[in-house]
């Protein structure tokens, strides 16, 4: 089953991992992204994730489907968190299972890289010195001009 979600609820990676797996699978890869306590040497106290939720859900479902196709597996689960997150909290969890490890690793990697390229989500970093900034992100590729 391919499963994806964008949520304000805390993420339990174990639950995401349980969504994948099949009798013919010999490997499952689980990637977990967390909020860390510094960025470029500057102490960070927390992070706020803002998202264009409806579009992010569509995009994440599309990314998961692409990863599944590449891995020749329909066992892909991914969830991204929105809202206020403390240090160490999980911002994203991705699980992929497949007959062999290479496909599982590759597909999980694909999902996180595509999230960074095109999921309409932004993060505001709160530094311990009181300053807050929207992190510099990636300019999404907007597709072929003139299409609709």
């Amino acid at each position: 089953m391919i499963w994806s979600d964008v949520t304000t609820d805390p993420i339990d990676p174990g639950t995401v991992l349980k969504r994948v797996g099949a009798p013919g699978d010999g490997a499952a890869a689980l990637f977990v992204g967390m909020v860390r306590n510094s960025n470029e040497g500057r102490p960070v106290g927390g992070m706020e994730y803002e998202g264009y939720r409806d579009m992010a859900r569509d995009q994440l479902a599309a990314i998961a489907a692409e990863a599944a196709q590449q891995a020749d597996s329909d066992r892909v689960a991914v969830v991204h968190r929105l809202g206020e997150l403390a240090i160490g909290e999980v911002s994203v969890a991705i699980a992929v299972s497949s007959p062999h490890r290479a496909e599982a690793f590759r597909a999980a990697r694909y999902v996180i890289e595509e999230i960074k390229k095109r999921l309409p989500i932004w993060k505001r970093e709160r530094y311990l010195d009181g300053e807050e900034v929207w992190l510099e992100g990636h300019l999404p590729v907007t597709g072929i001009e003139g299409t609709r």
Binding site: V92, W122, G137, P140, V141, T142, G146
Partner: protein, 81 residues
């Protein structure tokens, strides 16, 4: 025609609001919409000339033709993960 415009993160803070409605001539493109928004002055004028845009949840180029009732989101550089 009228389109709904959504603003997020740094764009939202720049203009001080999360959404607006724009009245545009028939056949207007994304580029025309951005020009209309920037012409409002203040923080609007400081929006990028060619921001990434999504029309009805799909990324769209600046020459995409808009239709009445479209939901157009200005997408600042994304930073998920």
């Amino acid at each position: 025609m009228r389109v709904k415009v959504l603003l997020f993160a740094a764009h939202r803070e720049l203009v001080g609001q999360a959404d607006t409605v724009a009245a545009l001539p028939e056949g207007a493109t994304v580029e025309v919409l951005i020009a209309e928004l920037k012409a409002r002055g203040g923080g609007w004028a400081r929006l990028p000339v060619r921001p990434a845009v999504a029309v009805n949840h799909k990324y769209a180029g600046s020459d995409t033709m808009l239709e009445d009732g479209d939901e157009v989101a200005l997408i600042p550089p994304v930073a998920g993960g």
